[in-house]
Subunit: 302 residues, 2 copies
């Protein structure tokens, strides 16, 4: 089947863009897929990997004739990417993206592409790896994809983008962009900020060498290094474009950390045990909801 | 082969104690293994699982005739566990443990068991699961086990405990207990404290429901919930017995987090990108050292 669209153009062929292309080819084989990336090496690698029908050397050629364009570039580059494709878009072409912050992106797409239906999207999925070789077709299977249509987005366009992501195996939710940014600030952005922080802290200590940190990382630290290995440019842009929500959540986190710090200082074991018992239940819910692997250690080989 | 000991008694049959028993049975089949746990349900479960030759109903019977006792109880219970076995120990019996903090435990074991060779040990391995059913024989394979002998521990006793852990597949390092506590404060205790904090923070927000946190946890949060699902009593005791090192490391973390917070507030993308690029290299080193799985997402199923 061809699904809700006939020709999708993907601008940005890294982990997410290339995974979308692969998933479309696997799940919607009649849908034509063209691609473009600003980086010539990435274009060459993508062409060799063959997950697009055609990889073009300029963005305008990639989007020509498409009835859906998905921008899969760092959120700080959305405005430029939108401006580059604007003159080449077919009338009625729907515009979407895969960015991790939504209010800022939605505003930039609306400003750059007046007259087009804009359906901002955020598939909540990824890995710590980057680039066109890191993608895979099942990345979105069972994961949530959040759509944040604008007030003037036609409902039919949202329905078509919903149908596309459903066909790729995702579960779709429609949400206000501002609320999305608050929810993701706590479930994604703050965890990344904290992981980046502690991995940096651990690598700069005088009393403990970096070699020791690496050697004894299996006590918990290594879990943080996975997240702190995520794409630096993508994450720089997420923090710059979702600043207020991230700072709000960081303030809550700091209050709680200060409370636990004080409990440790005064030897309040009851408070610590109560807190640690409560957090245990959350993981059971995440596994029950199908959002993580129940195998110990995420199923790492032992 | 029987290895460096003839009869090991394991006091505490949870994740780590039961994994030691299983690893001994698998790697050193001639070595007799007796076990005891203060919890009657745990004793019954352990007996049914069969990883000890005998599970005893009191600690004294379990350690009678043993030439090695391994205390695998929460570090806050080490002193009581040592006092309970003291009258029943054979002369020359070596005492070890598996606790995650070492200076406090070493002092307590030395005070409770004068005249015995004490070789405190910390196998840097584990999962988020607890109890006798959660253990497995290969938990320590390729992981480090740190020994922190006291100044009066006979070198021969340390050598025998080293040989035991080596036989179980671990890589052994000897270290000063105080330095151990500082190293593990950063590679294990601080990561756990931060994970416990953020999971608690996320579950108590007014603006974002717990259901939303669970649903969209694949953006990074779910990694933290694994660590925050670890045993509450064990971790309460770790923070109470390694307080100073944990508070020192937390201070460094707070300084760095404040710096990144300020960079986000003033929109300093260059600082963020530089920081996030540096942390990426640490993960490559951890994988190269064999301390984590190179598969994306730790090898979670997709």
């Amino acid at each position: 089947m061809s699904g809700p669209f006939a020709h999708v153009a993907i601008v940005g062929l890294g982990l997410i863009g290339s995974s979308v292309a692969r998933a479309v080819r696997a799940c919607l084989p009649q849908l034509r897929v063209t691609g473009y990336d600003a980086n010539a090496d990435t274009r060459r690698a993508a062409a060799a990997l063959g997950f697009c029908h055609d990889v073009m050397d300029d963005a305008a050629s990639a989007v020509a004739g498409a009835d859906l364009v998905i921008l899969a570039v760092p959120v700080g580059r959305m405005a430029d990417a939108a401006a580059a494709i604007a003159p080449a878009l077919a009338p009625g072409c729907v515009i979407s993206d895969v960015g991790s912050s939504k209010a800022d992106v939605a505003a930039k797409l609306a400003a750059a592409l007046p007259g087009h239906a804009i359906v901002p999207a955020h598939p909540v999925a990824g890995t710590e790896n980057s680039g066109p070789g890191a993608g895979f077709a099942t990345l979105f299977a069972g994961r949530w994809c959040i759509l944040t249509p604008l007030s003037d987005t036609p409902a039919a366009a949202t329905t078509r983008v919903d149908a596309l992501w459903t066909a790729l195996g995702a579960r779709v939710e429609v949400m206000d962009a501002v609320h999305h940014d608050l929810v993701l600030a706590v479930t994604s952005h703050l965890p990344h900020l904290i992981a980046y922080t502690i991995v940096g802290t651990a690598s700069e200590l005088e009393e403990v060498t970096e070699g020791e940190v690496i050697k004894y990382s299996a006590g918990g630290f290594r879990d943080f290094t996975r997240i702190a290995a995520s794409d630096p440019v993508m994450w720089r842009d997420v923090f710059l474009t979702n600043r207020d929500a991230v700072l709000t959540m960081l303030q809550r986190f700091n209050e709680d950390l200060t409370a636990l710090q004080a409990a440790i200082r005064r030897g309040d074991g009851a408070l610590l045990e109560e807190w640690f018992t409560r957090t245990r239940a959350i993981r059971r819910s995440i596994i029950a909801e199908g959002q993580d692997d129940p195998a110990p250690d995420f199923g790492r080989r032992h």
